[in-house]
């Protein structure tokens, strides 16, 4: 032990070869039904491993196969290719039917996040029943975000990684049509001119700031 050179000692703690790291990531992702974060991967792998790089290799390897390596927010998971869904009908679990109000509320939260209850109500033009958001939270599709720094410090809602996983989205940025909606100005929280029965006085700056900020965070 005493006369080992630096190099020899180093090699003792050297990370396994990339091919081996890839195997490790493969095993962990396959074993877990839930997405696994890069951090968690590296936590489990031997010291010095680069899970991110191994993931990239693995992702390429599974390109076009029956299962794929997909990104879910900050985490990664193996999922079957969507075109093979027809083979899996046996596995299908009937998901709870969501009400129209719940679906719209979910979409508004997803596209406008972080989004307050007042904003949801402004967009839908009706009050949001307590049960609706509760249901989405219970399904783990929606969670509380940061409080809005406006008078009353209202809570905001954001979508969760479970939501992203369920809809096969890498991040909230990948929501279908998000770019177009934004370009059309339809994701703006445009303040109503003067006072209106449907509107509320909101801080425009805040509305503008809030969105990109949260999307960054996701």
């Amino acid at each position: 032990m005493t006369d080992k050179t630096e190099g020899e000692i180093d090699s003792l703690f050297e990370a396994p070869p990339m091919a081996e790291q890839e195997r490790m990531v493969e095993a962990v992702l396959f074993a877990s039904a839930e997405p696994v974060t890069v951090r968690d991967l590296e936590h489990r792998m031997p010291h010095g491993c680069d899970a991110g790089q191994a993931l990239e290799h693995l992702r390429n390897r599974y390109e076009g196969r029956g299962v794929r390596v997909v990104r879910v927010g900050e985490a990664w998971a193996v999922r079957t290719a969507p075109d093979l869904g027809f083979l899996m009908q046996k596995e299908t679990v009937e998901t709870r039917k969501l009400s129209r109000a719940a679906i719209e509320t979910l979409a508004i939260i997803a596209y406008h996040q972080p989004c307050t209850r007042a904003e949801i109500e402004e967009i839908r033009g009706v009050s949001v029943s307590r049960g609706t958001i509760d249901q989405l939270i219970e399904m783990e599709w929606v969670r509380l975000g940061r409080r809005r720094m406006t008078p009353g410090r209202p809570v905001t809602f954001v979508v969760t990684p479970v939501f992203l996983d369920h809809f096969g989205l890498e991040s909230a940025r990948d929501l279908p049509g998000l770019k177009e909606l934004r370009a059309a100005g339809l994701l703006e929280n445009r303040p109503p001119p003067g006072s209106m029965p449907l509107g509320e006085d909101r801080n425009e700056d805040d509305a503008d700031d809030g969105q990109p900020e949260l999307f960054e965070e996701e």
């Binding site: 999922r79 997803a110 096969g168």
Partner: protein, 263 residues
């Protein structure tokens, strides 16, 4: 359901039927904005080109009809009607330069924006629900392999703990002569043991001094210790409810007796 009725009407007859259906189904609407969005579809134009004036007329007609049919409309429908009537007047009358606040055009534009935004969100919701979905179109691992949790308990101790531990033992050694000295000390535990055996007989008030152990009364140091211990033990027994204690005056003798309700 009502959506369909309004997207497919082609003829005036169909429109009329639709309008009636609209009224009959008023409960099925999610508020005035939903009604407005439905009505706006009858204009068959891009929501951006919608005539808000026309929409206001349609809505007011809808509210009128509801009244005729004696359908109770919720307050927010009526508030919207009032607001649209106001908007209509603003749009029809030439702008009054002295009047403050937004112009009719600004208000109309905002309403159009709200309708467009609501429609956009409904479309987005439909697209979202049409995405490939976990458990329907793609699947997670069916048989997850459990991660076994290995719980390792490590014990920690610092050098300070170690040294303090040792110091504790070694100082105990130093105390030994003091411990040897304890033949002049009557402890409260000893006194308690003694008192417990005696109180059964203490039916009437008795001077506490009489409870001192034998042979502890002569030497002042021993007497002090025994008195203090006996007094402390007496208080303890009072606290436990076995004994009553009284002292008539400062420095007067302390009297004890068994508590009456004690067997």
């Amino acid at each position: 359901m009502t959506d369909n009725l309004f997207t497919e009407d082609q003829t005036s007859v169909a429109e009329r039927l639709a309008a009636e259906a609209l009224i009959v189904d008023v409960d099925g609407f999610e508020g005035p904005l939903d009604v407005l969005l439905t009505l706006s579809r009858t204009q068959k134009v891009d929501l951006r080109k919608i005539s808000v004036l026309e929409l206001a007329r349609q809505y007011l007609a809808f509210v009128e009809k509801a009244k005729e049919l004696r359908i109770e409309l919720a307050a927010d429908y009526l508030v919207m009607a009032a607001w649209l009537a106001f908007l209509k007047s603003r749009l029809l009358l030439p702008p009054d330069p002295t009047e403050e606040g937004p112009t009719g055009e600004e208000l109309a534009a905002h309403l159009a924006f709200q309708l467009e935004r609501l429609q956009a969100m409904r479309d987005a919701a439909a697209r979202l629900m049409g995405q490939d979905r976990l458990g329907r179109d793609f699947f997670a691992r069916g048989q997850g392999e459990d991660v076994t949790r290995i719980r390792t308990v490590t014990y920690s101790a610092t050098l300070l703990d170690l040294m303090q531990g040792y110091a504790r033992i070694r100082t105990r050694d130093e105390f030994r002569p003091f411990v040897m000295d304890r033949d002049s000390v009557f402890t409260m535990e000893q006194a308690l043991d003694r008192m417990r055996g005696l109180i059964g007989f203490a039916g009437s008030w008795t001077d506490m001094v009489s409870y001192l152990p034998e042979g502890w009364g002569a030497d002042p140091m021993r007497r002090r210790s025994a008195t203090a211990a006996t007094f402390a033990a007496s208080l303890e027994l009072v606290k436990e409810g076995h004994l009553e204690i009284k002292q008539s005056d400062s420095f007067a003798p302390i009297h004890l007796r068994k508590r009456k309700d004690q067997a």
